[in-house]
């Protein structure tokens, strides 16, 4: 484990420069967000893991390239009866007793095959697209709903606050996984009819919406608290005195002040949404097969673990790596925006 922090000491020149600026030139103001970005840039661990996440996203986006030019197959094609050459010897992709080949570390079946003879590396990349799409989409939905709920409840108070807070309390006291699984199973079977819009049972929108709603109280509550405090601030009063309407005040006075909280929560919510997608899919209530996602792949791999543990290990390891990258990066973002939360003792 060689995770060393970036050296925090300033160079002599910088020290001299900062000393001089205190004396002669007037100190230039720096926006808090700029300060935070500067702190984030100095946190090398967070940056490395942030880059790792970007790399994973790029790899998943390049899935068709890999499938066409390296693996020469797609995410659905099964090679049950095919054989490939390993070390000069013809080997069945799936042995007659149903055991698929493990990682070949070559172009075809780089990470082995699954029980239907599908290329795991290809499915891993395509599955990553699904999982990342659901994770990011759900996180976005959570953010929008939480901002809406938190701002409305905090700003208007009274019965608006009461209704919104009670709804959030109720989602909170629901056994989350049970709710998600029940909804997912029910909707996967029958689809959803919302007025003119029909959503198919196997649509990715369904797990995305379920995950997006489930996390709303976790963000909505802290945001509401923040809005409650902001509402009493002088600059909001000033805006009100100028005759600005509530909508205008919310957008131009309150919302910008919530941005750091939103930025801090965002990567962490994506990480949790990806994990929840995996759990739902594992229980058969998320992404529906044969569409690959990391969750469905882990689920299928766990069922077939005795025939070849690589079927479970590979997608799981990829998922852990992605979520870990997001968590470490998210941690760095939080430290950067809220330096008080950082290690004080040295």
């Amino acid at each position: 484990m060689a995770i060393e922090p970036a050296p925090a000491e300033l160079s002599v020149e910088q020290l001299v420069a900062s000393e001089r600026s205190e004396g002669d030139a007037p100190v230039a103001g720096i926006a808090p967000s700029k300060l935070a970005l500067r702190r984030l840039r100095r946190n090398r661990t967070a940056l490395v893991f942030g880059a790792l996440f970007v790399l994973i996203v790029v790899m998943c986006l390049a899935a068709p390239l890999y499938a066409d030019h390296v693996a020469h197959t797609d995410a659905y094609k099964n090679h049950l009866t095919d054989s490939i050459e390993i070390g000069g010897k013809q080997t069945n992709v799936v042995a007659p007793d149903g055991v698929p080949i493990g990682p070949t570390w070559k172009g075809r079946f780089f990470l082995g095959a699954d029980e239907s003879g599908r290329d795991i590396a290809v499915r891993l990349l395509y599955g990553g697209r699904t999982s990342l799409l659901i994770g990011a989409g759900a996180a976005l939905l959570t953010m929008l709903l939480s901002i809406l709920a938190g701002t409305l409840a905090g700003f208007f108070g009274g019965w608006t606050d009461n209704v919104i807070s009670r709804i959030m309390d109720m989602i909170w006291s629901f056994p989350v996984l049970l709710l998600g699984v029940a909804l997912g199973t029910a909707l996967a079977l029958g689809g959803l009819q919302l007025g003119p819009v029909t959503i198919n049972g196997d649509s990715l929108i369904i797990p995305l919406m379920i995950i997006g709603v489930v996390y709303v109280p976790y963000i909505g509550r802290p945001l509401r608290g923040q809005v409650l405090a902001l509402r009493e601030k002088e600059f909001v009063e000033a805006a009100r005195a100028q005759g600005l309407g509530p909508v205008r005040i919310m957008f131009s006075e309150i919302l910008p002040n919530l941005s750091s909280t939103i930025v801090v929560f965002f990567p962490l919510i994506i990480a949790n949404a990806i994990l929840l997608e995996a759990s739902l899919s594992f229980l058969g209530a998320g992404v529906q097969p044969p569409t690959p996602s990391w969750g469905t792949m882990i689920g299928a791999g766990v069922d077939k673990i005795a025939t070849g543990p690589h079927q479970a290990i590979v997608p799981g390891a990829m998922l852990v790596l992605t979520v870990l990258a997001l968590n470490v990066f998210g941690d760095g973002v939080r430290d950067a925006f809220d330096p008080r939360a950082k290690v004080k003792a040295k």
Binding site: M1, L178, A186, G191, L283, G316, V320
Partner: protein
Amino acid sequence: MARFVARRIVSLIAVLFAISVITFAIFNIIPNGDPAYRLAGRTPTPGQLDAIRRVWGFDKPVTVQYARMMEQVFTGKLISYTNQTNVLDEIKQGFPRTLSLALGAALIWLFFAIVLGLYTAVKAGRFADRFLTVLALIGISMPVFWIGALMSYYLGFKAGIFPNGGYVPLTENPIQWAYHLILPWTALSILFIGFYSRVLRSNLLDTMSDDHVRTARAKGISERQILLRHVLRNSMIPIVTLWGLDFGAVVGGGAILTETVFDLEGVGQYAAEAIDMLDIPPVLAITMFGAFFIVIMNTVVDVVYAALDPRIRLS
């Protein structure tokens, strides 16, 4: 206090009512979730289906069906649609398993989280702290069913060190009981240890710079005493809160993944199987049962919180 309890009871009833309606609605809006098919077995005739609908009351309005189901929940006569067993008997059978899993895991994760949190806070900024922090983050990033399946495959199936699933009642053989539960406990604890130790660490670091700690140090109290008596005690309050809430959630069906992977046949696994078959009665009962525990633990936590910190009033 009396008013607080009364208000909590009212809100408990409201939550249970809302949750039962929502769960019931979820399963009644599915177009092809008709329970008559589930009861009729294979290739039923239209006449058989009609008869079943009449006998079970599926031809009645939805509100009447809901009222009947709730009556059955509270009189203990709720019957599963798929295998026609009594739902409450099944829950009663699974509950000791779920409780064993939750209780053991909760004690394990609390203990290790305190140890890890204390150690990383004392070593804050050093290599050990950074290394363990990364480990804790890895723990938070792992899906419990994945690590559980790998543990049960490699340690249980391959190496044969631990039993491969199954459950032995505590009253029958306490040693076998614990032996069978070690893997599920560990799998379930990992996430919570990672999360709690990080929360505790940052609380400890916050408290360490408080005035009362400086005073204690000035009085010449040993570092060890300061850490355990003055710092840890104050930092434990949020941990106790989290612990109560998570324990309630795990008992109330939150261990659905762990139970399924290790085949413990507790309440969570029963729920998973029922959902898979679109069997409304067990799902409804278990969801209400879970919400009941979550709300109760919420209340207990609030009371304990007020007892630990006199500044907080129950209102």
